[in-house]
Symmetry: D2
Subunit: 444 residues, 4 copies
Amino acid sequence: MHSFPFAPGHGGRLSENAPRGAARAPLGDAAARYDAVRQRSLAICEPLAVEDYGVQPIVEASPPKWHLAHTTWFFETFLLKVYVPGYRPFHTDFEILFNSYYDGIGEQFPRPERGRLSRPTVSEVLDYRDYVDAAMRDLLAQDEADIVDRITLGLHHEEQHQELMVTDIKANLGLNPLKPSYAAAPRGNGGDDCAASSDALAFTEYAGGIAQIGAQDGDGFVFDNECPRHRVWVDDFALGNRLVTNGEFAGFIADGGYDEPTLWLSDGWRWQRERAIAMPMYWRSVDDCWFEYRLDGERPLLPSVPVAHVSHYEADAYARWAGARLPTEAEWEFAASPWAIEGNFADDPRAPHPRPVGGDAMGQLFGDCWEWTSSAYGPYPGFEPLRGALGEYNGKFMSGQMVLRGGSCATPVGHVRATYRNFFYPPDRWQFTGIRLARTINRS
Amino acid sequence: MHSFPFAPGHGGRLSENAPRGAARAPLGDAAARYDAVRQRSLAICEPLAVEDYGVQPIVEASPPKWHLAHTTWFFETFLLKVYVPGYRPFHTDFEILFNSYYDGIGEQFPRPERGRLSRPTVSEVLDYRDYVDAAMRDLLAQDEADIVDRITLGLHHEEQHQELMVTDIKANLGLNPLKPSYAAAPRGNGGDDCAASSDALAFTEYAGGIAQIGAQDGDGFVFDNECPRHRVWVDDFALGNRLVTNGEFAGFIADGGYDEPTLWLSDGWRWQRERAIAMPMYWRSVDDCWFEYRLDGERPLLPSVPVAHVSHYEADAYARWAGARLPTEAEWEFAASPWAIEGNFADDPRAPHPRPVGGDAMGQLFGDCWEWTSSAYGPYPGFEPLRGALGEYNGKFMSGQMVLRGGSCATPVGHVRATYRNFFYPPDRWQFTGIRLARTINRS
Amino acid sequence: MHSFPFAPGHGGRLSENAPRGAARAPLGDAAARYDAVRQRSLAICEPLAVEDYGVQPIVEASPPKWHLAHTTWFFETFLLKVYVPGYRPFHTDFEILFNSYYDGIGEQFPRPERGRLSRPTVSEVLDYRDYVDAAMRDLLAQDEADIVDRITLGLHHEEQHQELMVTDIKANLGLNPLKPSYAAAPRGNGGDDCAASSDALAFTEYAGGIAQIGAQDGDGFVFDNECPRHRVWVDDFALGNRLVTNGEFAGFIADGGYDEPTLWLSDGWRWQRERAIAMPMYWRSVDDCWFEYRLDGERPLLPSVPVAHVSHYEADAYARWAGARLPTEAEWEFAASPWAIEGNFADDPRAPHPRPVGGDAMGQLFGDCWEWTSSAYGPYPGFEPLRGALGEYNGKFMSGQMVLRGGSCATPVGHVRATYRNFFYPPDRWQFTGIRLARTINRS
Amino acid sequence: MHSFPFAPGHGGRLSENAPRGAARAPLGDAAARYDAVRQRSLAICEPLAVEDYGVQPIVEASPPKWHLAHTTWFFETFLLKVYVPGYRPFHTDFEILFNSYYDGIGEQFPRPERGRLSRPTVSEVLDYRDYVDAAMRDLLAQDEADIVDRITLGLHHEEQHQELMVTDIKANLGLNPLKPSYAAAPRGNGGDDCAASSDALAFTEYAGGIAQIGAQDGDGFVFDNECPRHRVWVDDFALGNRLVTNGEFAGFIADGGYDEPTLWLSDGWRWQRERAIAMPMYWRSVDDCWFEYRLDGERPLLPSVPVAHVSHYEADAYARWAGARLPTEAEWEFAASPWAIEGNFADDPRAPHPRPVGGDAMGQLFGDCWEWTSSAYGPYPGFEPLRGALGEYNGKFMSGQMVLRGGSCATPVGHVRATYRNFFYPPDRWQFTGIRLARTINRS
């Protein structure tokens, strides 16, 4: 068992000097960072047909075109209109069309109808991006703290939307009966066959105590919801050394997991019964063999690859079936904080997909799949949202959603941290969401 | 008062020799007719951006791309697969994707989700059209009756979809907050101002008796739902000489028409209350002046232009407010059958829109707006649907819908007849649907 | 074939002197008639437990308590408040609570929530009835035409609600898993066994021509929707001599009728698919034998009894399967008008239920089951609704509903006429609704 | 500021010897305890009319009759069928009808339709109770631990339903436009007038540290969800000394609280906008003065009485408006555990209602209103549900709901504890749910 690194009351910080990715880059190169992030959004769309930019296959997703415009709207609204005297907005209607949810800014075009807007065209949206990027030049050269902070926030915001663009593109193409491929095959997934199994899951034990979680001053960029750093009591626990695999999840299905009500939360049981859900999103059974739609097309399911696209309900039911449970976010952060932020992130032009992991060491904490925790998303003690309309960024969603940790294969490199808190509703599963098991250790 | 042209029992037919439009063209030029109709579908889409081909702004409408593919699927399914030995379908999945409602053919992609398919792309759909058009060449040269009949049906089918393409494009663009223009202004609508009024409505009286309505052998192409020709008793009636205008309908609104329950059918009252509907589709009130979205953009409402885009409920309520009623389909056909099929049809590349009419003569029976009748859509006595899956073309919709007559400014020239029966649900209003008043004449 | 009794143009009236039932009783005994009708409502409720008065098992139905109060509200609102100076309403809130749909009177308590009102109690509703009945004494003695007409209307209105009370009670008890009996067994249904069959259906042919349908002055009480009497053209047709039986409908099911889309109207197909409907309401299959809930409890299905509780969609699909169609309302009235109004009506305290009929003669035109016609419910030519709020009685429902004719085993004796037009939405089936077949006769 | 009573690491238990109410009564008098609890359910219904037993005004509530039967079903299912050889159930259909949510037991009658069952009648349900109570006699004399534990659970279960009966009766009567009174006025609410205000809210500060919350062996009866007792870290905090009052909440409304999006959680904003909610349930504004429906009828709102019937969303928005927040469940239990379980509980036949409190001392922790916490309802570390179908009692609801603490004026005396965890969905507000404020103390 690993020993508990910091004694209660020491107030020690975990992983103080851990690398934090590009967010921590010196601010002198703000323009380069800005250009790189903005360019990355376009690169994600590069394999798309014009038609692919506009559709909204499920109400939770948005068209790629909308993401391209909304991230631009963010810079226009929170920087150009505020800090550039005499700035003329590109198009007055865009304020409503591309406002996502900022009631403090004003009215919004209804989210479920984003997919019915053929205009502005892709070309007009790209013009909008160029127009705003040009106007941003001057601001990128300034070193006023407020401006720098907002630019940084805008870039992290765009990185979040880059992940959504990938998952929304996957929903767009994957729910199309033609099941088109977005891009070439990901590396490292070959050679597996439909019958293969993976190594047994190992657990690492952790001694509990008073831990500290959350981010603090000097950590570089963090979102408001990661703060403040604060003490929590953590009981002894054990954490699975890797994500649950497709093969393991297929075992749950084969064992009748979706038909056994005692494995399910009441809300989850109703959810899967009413929607006739009996497998992860993107799975399909053909002649008793599983297939999975990936960004490179529909393929035979690889058993040793982490299962992805499961809801919180499915993750929770699987854990109960496996005699385990989901970790709390405190347990997860406690275990993850000493590690370098390395893993299967979206650093590659090829179609992102989770990858198998070998060996018994604790692995896959970062990248591959967001890991559902058992923790409802709420404010940390002493949480203070940002001031003004930007205060709506995170705080108002602290109800009804669950925390996910660790990033995924669709997350830009350098975007996540051990303290990073992602959040989705329990039924959501169009993100790369997976399962890490935990166990309570009884010392009686 | 016009006299009743045929005495009861004479069995006389009205307008036996009336011109019937292009459908009656000699069959020798089948290929030319085929090319012309197919080409016209593409011409309608010519002003569109690629993005405009894919969206489905309301569930009743379909994306233009879907119309282009579905009309092609019709020829592939009912002609190529049946009559061309060894024909290889363009894409097996298209059978499901572009089957509209033919249960006899098989499964269909869900209609409300047509707008979420980014693939096939427009380019692929155009390839599909080329592929099928090429394969049709041989069949177009044959004179076997079944083949000729099905080709003729397929072309009339495509013309119906051409009208839907126009109205669906209008919904796509008109419900977009940017309100883009589809094409240049229609002719003949200039010069009107917001306060202008139109001439008083005149009524023409008709003496009733035993009439005959419906189509019969030798009439050229007709749909199965127009047959058989049969006797009906028509009481004396009077018919408005023109369509109700925007200005008149604005008077109904100004008089509180939408707020007076006694003017409305019970279903209609609930419909407008639940949806907060208080004006025709595409109208907007800005600073106490009405504006209307047309295919050439949003414009000040022209009072003398016929009101369009009203539901059956609104047409019925307006008629009651005006001390009149809607005509039955028998009355309409009785009055219309002697007339040449001339009017404001979609014969022009410019954006179709209803046009004002002058004078006291009976006018606008054909073109401008489909005219809601008070007749529920049902089978004529002795109605026989086509055999096989094509029997689903018209017959299975004879429930819950209302008959409309006369065609609209979006109807291809030569497509309609005096016997032509269009049908929509009472709340539908994205077609160019207007109002002609009728009155019962009491001879006590 | 029967000959056509009136030549075209004669203007002859059918069945001018036919007996019309109690509605035609001399008005001198208004009080006795009033008492009898009012008492009959209470007699229907006599077998009920207090709990049975309040529930609303389906939104289309209303609690018996509500019917008892609403029929009382009708007299209070349209007579006592109008004609009795200084009349003090029993309870001011009752105006809203027991107003069914008269927008001209004012606000209404939401219909779907009638079943959630435990107050007023049954006892309070009976007090309300007593209070209003006492106040009506004076008016019953008057012979002013308006008052007499409104009282007559109020009594016919209450008879309509008596039929609804029976069918709503049946839904209440029949949808309860305990399937309690309302009253003792109906006569004449014994001795049948599960395998029995009935005689083949015979058709009577009618020569068409100009008929007259509808009611006219001097006919005694009729509803506004039956007027005016008017000419219609009727083609030659044939009518089934009896209603379709349970055994015949079971044959439709056994033949896969519910699974064959070409038998169904498009709306009907969607209706039964979405609700997984595969048999008439109240049927249940146990060990391959059919059972039917009747007002005397669940019993083995009797094959020779008319099928009841089918929707218009089911009636229409059955007719198509049987190579026939539903009659128009004109055909039905034309055939029915010469007959005396005799049949299986609700003249008996025992649980009403359809009864088998023997012989080849035209039978069951009145009573047993309301007969779905193929006619959409609309205004007769020259229809004039009653003035004021009472004008909402019938006219505003002339949209989306289908006409039914002939009355049922739950209809009070003397309530229906050959001209009587009942109407329900196509999916409705909690009334005693059945099927009579018709055929077109081709004389080519 | 209060000092923190137990140092970190001591493992000390809070309030080890606190009285726990009737649940801790010696088991020798099991029969007397059984009779008392069972009788209390009947006493709650004593003021009802027969009609009041059956209605279900909102889907979350159940008819009183259903509660009377379901609590009986609990004893029949989990005791009589298990431990009494040859026990014959009262009615086989009742297993489905009165099974609330135990999938392990079998099928259930749909919850939203409980209000449409007129049968069994109240009288039959009382027979059911008598039958089961008689059969329970023998088991009540036994001292086998499993039997004793299940009887104890059954009685606590019935007490929970007693509270639901009161709140469901309130919804039944309070949503009825007649607003009938359930029982005579509660004590201690007189004399207030519409303009009165209450004393300013005081806060008590608590020093944080490692606390222990939850129940442990030897505590007497507790539910599984209160276990195990475990350590939590609590930061310094302050807690309001009383519940928020009607007057204070009226101030929030007057200040536009319902119209200011930045005060609301995103889910809560959508909730109140879509439902047009602008005041607590049971409030009504008449001529600019507030009225509140209470179990003794509609009354002018008393400003010094605690506000009740607010959702979690409203509680959270109010707290934000007041510059405070809701307490966590750990903070609440930490503050409450030293106190005796005394307060305004349902110990009185008169209509329960919250009461004002005076003075600056910490008050109203128990009774009056359930207090919304900011804690999502989840499993304690090491939580183990009961075995078998009883494991569904609490555990499967640990998703999407929020914890409430302290009991209400409708909670039976002796039922709650400092460790007691109630839970409802954020929008629920038909319980007596109120607001206690908390604040974070920053010691920088």
